[in-house]
């Protein structure tokens, strides 16, 4: 849910693309402004108008999970830490330093002094405590933040600028979690409001922008926070942001977003799919891309199904899929085939490319060895039963169906019959929990490898019905260590175990693709492939 770009699969998406492409191609060259102007010195001032595809109906960063809304509300709050998108390293932001106990249960943050919220109140250890104490009570919308703080024992104020968070179990992921928008720090007054109030009225943060106006399903306007002087250590500009104003417009139709950008009605757009790339190429627009960290798009197998209990069958599926073909035909340009269960932008990612090659011959011999022989129609059978697989999917990205139809053909070529079952978005979670499924298509965005534990540990939800194994040990151990080298090694081991046993069939990485006018500079991705707009300027 958190990861998918809002490229809705509408019945008229293809038609939209067709209409806009043909018209826009002719319209491209007509604009007379000089695209290269102002590439020199960054300038303060101006308004950035950004068209996104959807509105989550909530303006509280702690409760928003949709990328399209995170882009805007993220700018309202600062976090204790920040994460370097290049290295994955956690660096200072509101916290100037921190200590983590060697068993990864206790986290002590020393805060910067002089930080104020836009209502004038000061950032203190007590405010951080108020935030973390309130998060577990956020309710249904706050599940991301709640998950990061699950198992929390207490948050205590050590001194006015030092705060200590203690967990019942080791929780190494918490440090990265403090860098996310979900644990962005809000003023004490905001924290006291009910989750619903925070959603509809917005919150007061200490961030580089302040919420000015929110019209549901329509627009969200942010203004520069004057006097801002406590930016993340990753930002190039000191002090206030360059831009005076940010206006986010909700434009659901991908073709209308593309046309609006091309015709200069907006400065940047989100969720550019393959169908709209041609319309945006050349001219005044650049396409900006970054792979989302976390679990790649793939088939989550139900490992307790009789046929799928056999590792050889799962491995055969893994080898039968031609990842490059899927990435190149269905997904936006630049999308990379999966080279591990984690995307390459995830910290501690290990390339397992040699294990994820396309090898139909090997897939066939694995199935032969497992006793599945080709029938007269080419589909393999064993003891009179056909080798069939139903893949569940939800229409939350336009790429899902074409990708799965291609995979369907690829698996058929080695004798596996695939049927596709479309579920409503709300049906997916109950289906996975019930265990009544063969395989499900999806991905999860998270810039910390602990996502492997949430997804594959048999001690947690265990949606893929894995047997207990040494994978559990590795996943538990990585959550309990603060030794970065050791954690990296354990995460690498976990990735290898998942791929070699084919518990999950990685296919392609999710790539965030934005269309940005050439007037706009330094519109930067953060470590989670979302946006940081403090350094952005218009020239």
């Amino acid at each position: 849910m958190t990861a998918l770009p809002d490229v809705r699969s509408t019945p008229w998406a293809a038609l939209t693309a067709l209409v806009t492409t043909s018209v826009l191609l002719t319209a491209c060259g007509s604009s007379g402004t000089d695209p290269g102007s102002g590439t020199g010195q960054p300038r303060s001032g101006g308004t950035l108008t950004f068209a996104v595809g959807s509105d989550a109906g909530c303006v509280d960063p702690q409760q928003v999970a949709s990328n399209e809304t995170i882009y805007s509300v993220r700018q309202i709050v600062d976090s204790l830490t920040d994460q370097d998108p290049k290295t994955g390293k956690i660096v200072p932001w509101l916290a100037k330093s921190w200590d983590v106990s060697s068993d990864a249960t206790t986290f002590t943050f020393r805060l910067r002094s002089g930080v104020t919220f836009s209502d004038g109140s000061k950032l203190t250890a007590q405010v951080v405590k108020d935030n973390f104490d309130a998060v577990p009570r956020l309710g249904a919308l706050g599940t991301l933040a709640e998950g990061y703080l699950s198992g929390v024992k207490s948050t205590t104020v050590v001194d006015p600028l030092t705060v200590k968070v203690t967990f019942k179990q080791p929780n190494a992921q918490f440090l990265q979690a403090t860098s996310t928008h979900s644990l962005g720090i809000e003023s004490s007054a905001s924290v006291k409001k009910t989750p619903q109030q925070k959603c509809s009225d917005g919150v007061t943060g200490s961030g580089p922008f302040v919420l000015k106006q929110y019209v549901q399903n329509q627009s969200l306007t942010l203004a520069k926070r004057t006097g801002y002087a406590w930016g993340s250590s990753l930002w190039t500009k000191q002090g206030e942001a360059y831009l005076d104003k940010l206006v986010f417009k909700v434009v659901p139709e991908a073709g209308v977003r593309a046309g609006s950008l091309q015709s200069g009605q907006v400065d940047a757009i989100s969720s550019v799919g393959r169908a709209n790339e041609a319309a945006l190429k050349g001219g005044q627009v650049t396409l900006q891309r970054r792979a989302n960290p976390g679990i790649v798009f793939g088939l989550g197998l139900n490992n307790s199904r009789p046929a799928l209990k056999d590792a050889r069958v799962r491995q055969a599926i893994l080898y039968a899929i031609d990842r490059k073909q899927v990435a190149d035909t269905v997904f936006p340009t630049g999308t990379q085939p999966a080279t591990s269960v984690l995307a390459h932008t995830t910290p501690d990612y290990t390339s397992l490319a040699p294990d994820l090659t396309s090898d139909a011959a090997r897939a066939k011999s694995l199935l032969e060895a497992a006793g599945w022989k080709p029938g007269s129609d080419g589909i393999r059978t064993k003891d009179g039963k056909k080798l069939g697989l139903t893949i569940d999917w939800v229409p939350n990205a336009a790429t899902n169906q074409p990708a799965l139809e291609l995979i369907q053909q690829q698996l058929k070529a080695v004798g596996i019959q695939v049927s596709l079952r479309q579920l409503q978005i709300t049906q997916l979670a109950p289906t996975l929990q019930s265990g009544d499924y063969d395989a499900a298509w999806g991905n999860i965005t998270r810039a910390d490898p602990d996502i492997l534990r949430s997804s594959f540990s048999t001690k947690l939800a265990n949606l893929y019905r894995l047997p207990t194994s040494s994978l559990d040990t590795a996943l538990a151990a990585q959550a309990a260590t603060t030794d970065t080298a050791k954690r990296k090694q354990l995460i690498a081991q976990a990735q290898r175990l998942i791929v070699h046993n084919a518990y999950y069939v990685p296919v392609v990485e999710l790539q965030t693709q934005l269309g940005v006018s050439k007037r706009v500079h330094a519109l930067n991705f953060d470590a989670s492939s979302r946006l940081q707009l403090h350094d952005t300027w218009i020239g």
Binding site: W12, T20, V23, P252, V256, G259, L428, A429, I451, A461
Partner: protein, 319 residues
Amino acid sequence: MRRYVIKRLAQAVGVLWAAYTVSFLVLDYLPGDPVTAMAGAGMDSGQVDPKQIAALRHEYGFDKPVVVQYAEYLGRAARGDFGDAVSTGRPVTSTLADALPQTLQLTGAALLLAVVLGGGLAVLATYTAQRWLRQLLLSLPPLGVSVPTFWVGLLLVETFSFRLHWFPAFGNDGPKGLVLPALTLAVPTGAQVAQVLAKSLLTALDQAYVETARAKGADRWRVHLRHALRNASLPALTVVGLLVGQLIAGSVVVETVFSRDGLGRVTAAAVTAQDIPLVQGVVVFGALIFVTTNLVIDLVYPLLDPRVVVASDRRAALA
């Protein structure tokens, strides 16, 4: 007359109840509920504590037996309370009230355009003496009915916004932003008005009173407008009543294409999120608008044509 009014009112209430009940049953039949939807619609749902989900389900009453839920919701709905939307936590009624003016603007403007353009087309097509022109004009309404609304919308956006820069491509800002969406919505609606009106105009023009009027020496234009159009407009009025429902349904597509806020967008979002209270609110509210419009039209008939009530009362007496 009183009996006629009471009967129509009772029918209206019956339609509202049926709309409410059917939508409740359909939503109940779907697997999952809004809380599960909110708590992680994707594969990361494993990160959510099941206890927490159970608590929330209890809070919203989704753990009660269906019959109890139905009775409770119906009781509150009868008093105009649809509860809070699960996806936003805002009261359903205020969510709808906020969206309503935008949709009224859109559908009102579209209806006006539809009547003026559709009616004008019908009058012109039946008035012209040129056979080829009549054929051409009469072939436009079937075309207008059959082209998909979203396609018309995209074509208009392409031409008048992206190319000519005359109108904005999205948003609710001002009358300029209303032109393209209203025009888009007016195309299928106006086409139907034109179809019905042209047909009844042609029928009316064959009637004896038209011959009489002509024989008395009234000019063609006067006969056409004063005599034929007046009588031909009754069936068209019936159609307008039905078209109101269609306009509201059409706003789902038009508001999405033109990024306008309104009931259509609220509906689309509510259905996607399986937000039961909000969907129920939308269904009942949509039914209310439809029922009210048709009630008003039913009540206007007797004023235009007293035979309507006489016929209705006679049937009632026989029964």
